[in-house]
Amino acid sequence: MDWLPNQTKLFRAMLYCYPAEFRHEYGAEMEHLFQDRLRSEPRWRLWLDTLTDVAFSAPKEHWEILRSDVRYGARVLAAMPGFSAIVLLVIALGIGATVSIFSLVNAVLLRSLPYGHPGELMYLWSPNPNFKGVPDEMGPTIADFYGWQQQSHSFSAMALLRQRAVNVVRDSVASRVEAASVSGNFFQTMEAWPQKGRSLDTGDDQPGHEHVAVVSDEFWRSQFAADPAVIGKHFQLNRQDYTVVGVMPHDFGYPFEGDIPYDHSGFRQTDIWLPAAYSVKDKTDRTNFESADAAIGRLKNGVSVAAAQAELIAIEARFQPLYPEMWKGWTALVKPLVQTIVGPVEKILWLLLGAVGIVLLIAVSNVAGLLLARATARAHELGIRTALGAKRSRIIRQLLTESLLLSCTGGAFGVALAYGLVHVLTSLNPGKIPRFESATVDGRVLLVAAALSIATGVAAGLGPALSSCGPNISDLLRRGGSRVAGGSHRGRFAFVVLEVALSVVLLAGSGLLIRSYIQLEAVDPGFSRASLTLKPNLDDRYNTSESQASFYKMFLEKLQTLPGVKYAGASSALPLSGGDSMSFIKTRGNENSKEIVEDRSVTPEYRKAIGTPLLRGRDFDLHDLNSKAKVVMVNAKFADTYFHGRNPLGEQVCICVGSSDAASWSTVIGVVGDVRHTALEEAGKPQMFQPTTAGDSFAIRYDIPTKQVVDEARAALRSLDPALTLEATTMNDVIKASNARRTFQTSLLTGFAAVAVMLALVGLYGLMSYTVKQRKAEIGIRLAIGSPRSRVLTLILGQGLRLTGYGLLIGLACAFAMTRLVSAWLFGVESNDPVTFVVVPLFLLAVACCACLIPAWSATRIDPVQTLREE
């Protein structure tokens, strides 16, 4: 019979599945019953019975206790609506903000991309180390791409893509649509399949077969009213007839804004995919430098990125002799697509999540402080329950249930808040963060919200629950709970210090970003914010540079005669537009160098239209356009770099590919101010301007309302060609768009800091009010024996400010260590900026003073006589 004790032991262990209360009450009985059955029943049946029984009855007992605790807790909380409302508000704020930011992180970083096996997808770039100042992420030339495709064995598929804006005419309305020309195997390479019809295939990118289109879900809905029979329908694209062959699922819009590095298209997402039909000649022509915006390869199983890159480099080296001398030096670079897409935004999103995590931590600590105060006030009630035989674990369980009830209800409000916040955040669109707008509160976000709510309930409730069960019962009952104040007070002090410290960290971080923002706003961009820029979208009918130039010239002439327009000019690239053109130059004395500078072709009035100051010399005039003597203008940076303090006027510059005969030398006739071209943060680079009669980007200065001038410009364009569309943006909007991400992160971090400070102040205020209530008798006696009221004021104020001081010291130390995390986003300030580190503590001290002043003032109003009578 020696098996009997072992089996009983096993059953005894299983009893731990039941709530402690139930186990203590019935555990011994259940064990006897089990032993009785063990003697009379077959063992296999008993165990089968017992296991099933425990599996069903143990959760039921837990559920029963939870239900009664929740009911009791809800009654307790309903009896103090003010307290409950504040706690719910704090938790809802903390969890709502955290969940909102998490849903952004989820959309951008965690949700997998809508492409099959995205880890295998690689961007294939073709950098040229000979070109200084040009990024490595340049797409290969068309000829090189097809060369790679033919000769490489590392990839199972390879596709190319070029972004282009097209004009679609539906019901006689022309609209500009963001499109991509792709090789026929693009969708197979991406492993992305249409929801309707078919994707493109290799038969579609043959010249003569290319008039088919795959459209996005959004385009299908907006242009075809989600017509189920859309496949096979025709539509006008750049005045040519195209057939819809497929509709992609709603989450596919590759490339999205930000998917391609140094993407200057400004496209939000792609709505039409067209086959890029290249002739055999195009595929081998290395005198034409047309290049892909991106080439994508799907890496074969077992091939490493390094091996694939080595192979492409070797192939590319074989192509070099085919290039003209000035254009040799191309090589290859293979980079994982997912990492390229999310890499640049990963840091900022994690930073924001960290910041909002701090806000949540402050909220939790605030709630813990409130619950501690509450537990102190309830010490009498809890003491009686203990005296009546309630076990310590039972009381802890009850208090934890209450805090979980609060945190889960607060969490539910938080999720509701997050639905709204995510909507606001996505509409703020900071620009160039792929799939940012697709952020939603989905299943994963809800799961995180639930986990955070439970963690908040446990974290905020555990301390107060444990501390309220500590004290001696008889003591408690005798003194009505006042003795526990000491212990819980220290706990609350610690929570307030923690809150102040954490808000200092956030305030310092946001302070640095705000300072950077102000510095950046003060930067002179080198052009006028009031200028309006215009870009007409020509279609395939304007397929020669002559037809384009003649159209642009006519459009410019129209613009110049519009009423209200003071200056109108055109350029080959506008500042902050992403577009750029570079040229090799030589200067006298440096004939053998191969320098590359930003090169613009501009019309004579362009400088005035865009608002760049003329520093020396003169503008281009009509004579310069026709004269044989070539002239150029340069910017101040160019003059400093290449003429080293000499008078730049009259100096000579050669814009040359290979040759340097006398005819290609130009004379500098004017020097203009530096223009920030790539980003406001980046100082102007050497720039050179050549005179021209037309460019594709227009700028105007005007003295009538913007809307009126835009309407006039649109009418002017329509009068020339009604099928074309026009983009119009003021330079102010261009600056705003270029600063969008900075504005977004600065305002978000500032918002978090504001909430953090507010929560810390609520905590401080609550604690000081409570302290005054606790010390009422002591203060009454002080006043009774003649202590002046001002002394009482400074006593309470001093206590509050001392706590704030501790928090400040800890917070500043942490902030010093942590602000370098934001150093990548700082402009014109150091991460240990003295102004920020002086202003932040002063500001916090000032607001803390205000928060303590009300309780301190109420302390001076205490009536000593009445207090003594109460004692």
Partner: protein
């Protein structure tokens, strides 16, 4: 008070004519149902707990326990309270009424 479950009703029946401990109740129920309903420890004591809370049964105090030879000292004995008896009777009446109605509609096979 929640409605009587069939299992709780069985416990009340088991206690109708004599006080019993948990194992006795279990055996009683099993015998009456020919072993079809076997209340395991967790379910049995969960039900006992709720019947006690609802006041339908009560636990016997030291001086109420059976005389020495029958008293198993290790065990706790339970007794039906007047309220419990009333509840059991009400349940019996409800069932009888139901049976009557079923019979009127010819749903009950005639027994002889």
């Amino acid at each position: 008070m929640a409605a009587l479950t069939p299992q709780a009703f069985h416990i009340l029946i088991a206690l109708a004519d004599r006080d019993q401990h948990g194992y006795g109740i279990m055996q009683d129920v099993a015998a009456r149902t020919s072993g079809k309903l076997r209340l395991s420890a967790g379910t049995l004591y969960g039900l006992i707990k709720r019947l006690l809370e609802d006041g339908l049964i009560t636990e016997l105090r030291e001086n109420q326990r059976p005389e020495k030879p029958q008293d198993d000292e290790r065990r706790r004995y339970y007794r039906l309270t007047p309220l419990g008896r009333k509840a059991a009777k009400a349940e019996v009446n409800r069932m009888a009424e139901l049976l009557e109605q079923a019979r009127a509609y010819g749903l009950v096979a005639k027994s002889n």
